[in-house]
Symmetry: C2
Subunit: 246 residues, 2 copies
Amino acid sequence: MIESTRNPRVVRAVRLHRARNRRETGDTLLEGPNVVDAALSAGLVPELVFTLDRDELANRAAQAGSEVVVVSDSVMNKLAGTENPRGPVAIAAVPESGPVAPVDTIVLCGISDPGNAGTLIRSAAAFSFQVVATPDTVDLWSPKVLRAAVGAHFATGIVTGSSPEAVAAVGIGLVALVPVEDGSDEPEESARPIGLMVGNESHGLSPRLLAAASATLTVPTSGAVESLNAAVAGSIAMFAIAQGRG
Amino acid sequence: MIESTRNPRVVRAVRLHRARNRRETGDTLLEGPNVVDAALSAGLVPELVFTLDRDELANRAAQAGSEVVVVSDSVMNKLAGTENPRGPVAIAAVPESGPVAPVDTIVLCGISDPGNAGTLIRSAAAFSFQVVATPDTVDLWSPKVLRAAVGAHFATGIVTGSSPEAVAAVGIGLVALVPVEDGSDEPEESARPIGLMVGNESHGLSPRLLAAASATLTVPTSGAVESLNAAVAGSIAMFAIAQGRG
């Protein structure tokens, strides 16, 4: 059992909470039973799994080929980004982004809050949307985003470092999600896949991105508040589009 | 200008980040320009406003009757629950809960995450829903919940420490939001107000609460993930009910 937070493998894992270290190594941290379970079920085998007990999930990881090490409570507290973590925490290689597929897509254009990004990935998987992110969006494979998505990363396609142009290039129609109707065209009912662009929480979509869209979409509200939370607005729009497909 | 974090008024404000001190004093903290602006616009006058500059919002607060004090960056960092706060931070009395009104209502039954609670209040205001919370729900007037709702507390009715029974007692029909369809009755289209019950993020609605509902509602998903985020599910359900009303 590892009981020292200075153990080199523990140090290596803790460093992955920093974006720079994830970029340099290509690795990330999977935290909690839901995320680790979803990764294993999708065939992604973590390199190293830290666990408090040799439980069923730890055994599944070991059978799949992960190295499993039992750690003390204090080491688990150091490894995890949450309070009172029950584990496991796993080091895994970030899957490579595949090409953009010609299916309904949510395009994250500068989403900065990890909770919002994770929630949108969870909703995207629930409504059968692919997720594409621009380079100025928060790292979708950060431990915080993975936690917020509760395993949904492994249930839908995720393409990072991409652009609305790359989405349009495979025949997806770009639609801008905007908080207030601006009188431009609503998306037509069509069999063509939709690329729903969601902008930054504070600044929304830039004029350049708005100009790239062939239609805009607004979630109708009472007007009592200025806007909805970005993850809620994006999720409602995906729900509505999925209902229209249904 | 206050430059010491040991100033008694600063100490008094910082203590309000703790639930126990809010309960004992009946006060809370309003953080950020959106929340303070929304409070003032709704006629709620903070007792004390800490600000970095004597700006337009600070002047509005002073005219409304707030005491306004300018503080240094280090004091503002101590006062606020966020990094790099731009202020203001204000001490205000928590408004007293009024009675439950006979209108469409979201009933928060054990929501524990402040971000989810705040997001649901924001969506409730956007879709013209009253918010009722049970005693085991996170404190809706905590600074974190106020921040996540971005001022929506002052744009809809909020009743804390209440119950589904109190909601049903004014003629609102209770509907349980559940992640998976269980074959029970869907709510009928009716002019009667709906009381949408949303359960705890991990445990959902208790059997007792499920039994109190006359219908259940499920957000249809692809099944690729077990469930949606609680704030997203509640928001989509309010959106769908509001669309049906429209």
